[in-house]
Subunit: 138 residues, 2 copies
DNA sequence: ATGACCGATGATATAACATAACATCAGTAT
DNA sequence: ATACTGATGTTATGTTATATCATCGGTCAT
């Protein structure tokens, strides 16, 4: 059910693969410099290399940037061409990617005033996950 | 019509006033350092002073941060306790603040997965304003 | 009044995030 | 072989943000 996700893996460069793996393995959002630390052993050693790969991966829809965190996450859907929201636990940084239904996308785009024709929507929801919820603490 | 906007001006410190005026006069989003440049003449000369005032003003709902720009804008409503979206022209940086209807707020909060209880929603819509639209250019 | 305390502001220093600009290299078309 | 092109490596620097400690002004118990 749900076609559209059979990663044809749009052939990545070595750097892009390294960095995507890094993000996937981490399972949580990482800053560009956190990524850099983790891929040094693979021979990547300068910030621009990381940012270039991240930008390429974002163009391919395989990585998203969490604006409110200056951090990056691998797309949970392998790749998606774009309309999604994120929920982020402010305590533990857990991230849930929310694929937006067509009607939700439409509503969001509809929020734009006449004056500005919308191209891209960023939605980030901050809150507390169940594990971090106060009522759950000892 | 529409109560709730008769600014009782929740007494601001000198720094907060300076920085809020600066943002209001600018009419466009400014980075913290752009603000700093403009308030040096008023005796504010260090980044932490600016960030402190901005954080205080944000707590009061009188300033918002545009996450996708690392920039700050004065609240167009004087102050609001929080649910709004922004539309931003990617070419000229014009910003339109969109006060969200209750149903839109509800919808956005409803996007959050069970796993994360939402507290705050960031919505930023990037696009092109009429003035910057290609079809309008010579 | 004095001085102990406390919150706000000032100042220094540095951390964290991001990119401009140029060098080098691999592939390929001539 | 040479010249072009696009990707990657490298240096340097620009931009955004905060930790930390110092200082100042008010309040309050004595």
């Amino acid at each position: 059910m749900n076609a559209a996700h059979h990663h044809d893996a749009p052939k990545l460069s070595r750097n892009q693969s390294e960095i995507l793996s890094c993000l996937r393995n981490s399972g949580e959002p990482l800053s560009a410099y956190a990524i850099l630390d983790r891929v040094r052993k693979s021979g990547i050693s300068h910030p621009p290399t990381v940012y270039r790969a991240l930008n390429d991966l974002m163009k391919k829809g395989m990585v998203h940037r969490l604006e409110s965190r200056s951090a990056f996450v691998a797309c949970g859907h392998g790749a998606c061409d774009g309309k999604f929201a994120f929920a982020i636990c402010r305590a533990c940084d857990k991230v849930v990617e929310i694929l937006l239904a067509d009607k939700d996308q439409a509503l969001l785009l509809g929020l734009a005033p006449d004056e500005i024709s919308p191209e891209q929507v960023t939605v980030e929801i901050a809150g507390l996950c169940n594990d971090c919820h106060p009522s759950r603490l000892a």
